[in-house]
């Protein structure tokens, strides 16, 4: 096992580059993950116009209440003006308070305010807020309170703020983060493995070294087998670093079925990346070419497979073309895992099928490598 033994001494000489590359990839992955997803609730402020035909303290208080969570916009009391403002999204909703509204309300006549909404879905919020406010007024009025007391009570009730935080294992934001993290490993694994393994293969493929290895009693097959073993061990170490990072970032999520399936998928892909890098290494003789090939392959496959850009934004012909590369199937696994919340056989079968396809690519790359080595020897 002398080749295997010295393999890691050679790797040690490139350790600085390997650590730097891994660190950059991990940092970029983490930044990318955090940039693209949000894990907390954020309220939306609507642009609201209020046309008030009723001068009362209750209505003035209502306007103050709406103003707290919205931007009040002034527009003319004119039908045409209303349509223009809504069409151009100048306002999300227009609230028209009719004359004698407060009086009718206190007299239990169930008056209503007119609300004109835009197509924006969050304009619904304004309607909900308004209904909530006047329902409460109605409630307090029925209990016999005067106007002053109603306002005092309603302000107490509405001043309570609720902090919204999304919790639970099925938390969509965290799932999205996890998906982002593992999808970005498509680029990281390709870049790191092609660079490291390609470089080592180039060292062992130098004509002078090959000649010396060939005339030795060890045999080229044994030497290449030991090299492959070294590559696989190195792959497992780097993959493990990523798994550890995923556990640090996503904690208990990684100890669920979902997390486990992501880990298995990344292992399958890491092994296939190693086989691809091994194949590329058998083709390339000069170390200087490695970084160019690494960039073309890792960036190219990441773009066309949907690792960097969502597949829905890509042309269907590009997506179909990317099916001939393992990256497509790896992203496919990750997408399925993002989309699945319960794991029964129906949900698991397509995932396992993708794992097998990814690994078959690895076997294909090894067969191609053997053919290249055989051809070169001839």
């Amino acid at each position: 096992m002398i080749v295997f033994n010295k393999y890691f001494k050679i790797v040690k000489q490139h350790l600085g580059t390997i650590i730097m590359f891994t660190a950059i990839c991990v940092i970029v992955t983490i930044i990318n993950t955090n940039y693209n997803t949000q894990d907390s609730f954020k309220s939306v402020e609507n642009n609201i116009a209020i046309i008030n035909h009723d001068n009362s303290k209750i209505v003035d208080n209502y306007i103050k209440y709406i103003d707290k969570g919205s931007n009040l916009i002034d527009i003319k009391d004119d039908k045409k003006e209303f349509q223009d403002a809504l069409y151009s999204n100048k306002v999300d909703a227009i609230i028209i308070i009719p004359e004698n509204f407060t009086k009718d309300l206190l007299d239990n006549k169930n008056p209503s305010v007119k609300i004109k909404k835009s197509n924006q879905s969050f304009s619904m919020i304004t309607e909900l807020q308004t209904n909530k406010y006047f329902n409460l007024i109605n409630l307090y009025a029925n209990s016999g309170m005067d106007e002053e007391l109603i306002i005092e009570n309603i302000n107490k009730s509405l001043d309570k703020e609720v902090e919204v935080k999304i919790i639970g294992n099925n938390d969509l934001a965290s799932k999205a983060k996890l998906y982002m993290f593992f999808s970005f490993t498509n680029y990281s694994f390709l870049a790191i493995f092609i660079f490291i393994i390609g470089t080592i293969m180039c060292i062992f493929n130098k004509e002078t070294i090959v000649k010396r290895n060939t005339i030795s009693s060890e045999g080229l097959k044994s030497i290449y087998r030991q090299l492959l073993l070294g590559h696989i061990l190195l792959t497992l170490i780097i993959w493990l670093v990523y798994v550890i990072f995923s556990i640090i970032l996503f904690k208990e999520m990684m100890f669920t079925m979902n997390g486990l399936l992501y880990i298995i998928g990344s292992l399958c892909f890491a092994i296939t990346c190693t086989c691809l890098a091994y194949f590329i290494g058998t083709l390339i003789k000069k170390e200087s070419i490695i970084s160019g090939v690494q960039n073309v392959v890792s960036l190219g496959l990441s773009f066309i497979s949907g690792s960097f850009v969502d597949r829905t934004l890509l042309d269907s012909s590009i997506v179909n073309f990317s099916k001939i590369f393992p990256s497509y199937w790896y992203i496919d696994v990750n997408y399925r895992l993002y989309d699945t919340s319960t794991y029964n056989m129906d949900a698991l079968m397509p995932i396992f099928k993708d794992y097998i396809i990814i690994l078959l690519f690895g076997i294909l790359f090894i067969i191609l490598s053997k053919l290249v080595v055989k051809f070169k020897r001839k």
């Binding site: 002398i2 490139h14 010396r212």
Partner: protein, 312 residues
């Protein structure tokens, strides 16, 4: 004497170019066999064919009595090769490089450690074991190249131009090392275009030119093949033409040349003529600053057999 290598009618083409032409050689056990020839004469191609690194069109090659094939691992374990181009890992230290190449043959760690240390000692690299190849001079790098090729103590060693571009100190070290390996029992095939090295080291020599073997034998036997004998060189000013004419009339002389105050006289082989020359110069009142005699070299042999210098 047991024959370690037997090559019969070896013919190798590169496309239409005949690189080795019907070559027949054998190497006896415990000897140093020299393959002498100018660059492109087919020396390295012959070695690569013998080692099964190249396919050849015709001929038979046997090593240790067995046919050499790419998967003859048993035979390969007895062979060490030092290639013309330095073949080491830039990323490994001197020690690790030797350990790696030795490890391709020797599995036992303890034995390997001793072998590696022996190779380091033989090549005089004791002070450089932690150095990386980039930190070594050209001569030391060549020594490392040799150490990597011979560390597993092979019975048969091929050395393909191991002293190319090497300083005199390293060259002497390498040549002494080769003598030591031979003394310890190794059979050596040595290729070079430096005739001095071949004369210094080899028991038998084959001279190659354009892929063909033009002569083979001991250095003495090869020198017997040519007419030229001793050469005497005299440094003298303003030599009279009459004296040159008189000199040409002397017995055994093949050629007399006088250029740039240097007189070169070539004799037929057989006798030593220095004493006679000194008497001639004295009798003719010729004053000289330097006089010396040279016996014929393998370069003379090559020159006479091919009409060109070895280093052309």
């Amino acid at each position: 004497m047991e024959k370690i290598i037997e090559v019969e009618n070896l013919t190798k083409y590169y496309g239409k170019f005949k690189a080795v032409d019907d070559l027949n050689i054998y190497v006896e056990k415990g000897k140093i066999f020299g393959l002498l020839g100018p660059n492109g004469s087919g020396k390295s191609t012959t070695i690569n064919c013998i080692l099964s690194l190249l396919n050849y069109q015709d001929g038979k090659i046997k090593i240790f009595g067995e046919e050499m094939k790419p998967n003859s691992y048993n035979l390969k374990s007895k062979i060490g090769v030092v290639f013309q181009d330095v073949a080491v890992f830039e990323e490994l230290s001197v020690y690790d490089n030797i350990d790696y190449f030795c490890g391709l043959y020797i599995k036992d760690k303890k034995i390997r450690k001793k072998y590696v240390e022996d190779a380091i000692k033989l090549t005089g690299l004791e002070d450089f074991i932690k150095f990386r190849p980039k930190q070594l001079s050209g001569g030391l790098l060549r020594r490392l190249n040799i150490a990597c090729g011979i560390a597993h103590k092979p019975e048969l060693i091929f050395l393909d131009e191991p002293t190319v571009a090497v300083d005199p100190q390293s060259r002497n070290n390498i040549l002494e090392g080769i003598k030591k390996l031979n003394k310890d029992g190794a059979t050596i095939v040595y290729t070079t275009h430096y005739m001095e090295e071949v004369e210094q080291l080899c028991n038998r020599i084959a001279i190659l030119d354009k892929g063909k073997m033009i002569a083979v034998g001991t250095k003495e036997a090869l020198k017997e093949l040519i007419l030229v004998g001793e050469k005497i060189t005299v440094e003298t000013d303003n030599l009279d033409k009459k004296i040159i004419k008189k000199l040409k009339e002397q017995k055994n002389i093949i050629e007399v040349k006088y250029e740039d105050n240097i007189l070169n006289v070539t004799y037929e082989k057989g006798e030593e003529n220095l004493e006679e020359m000194i008497s001639f110069l004295k009798d003719n009142n010729v004053f000289y600053s330097k006089i010396f005699s040279e016996l014929p070299t393998l370069n003379d042999v090559f020159l006479e057999l091919t009409g060109k210098e070895l280093r052309d």
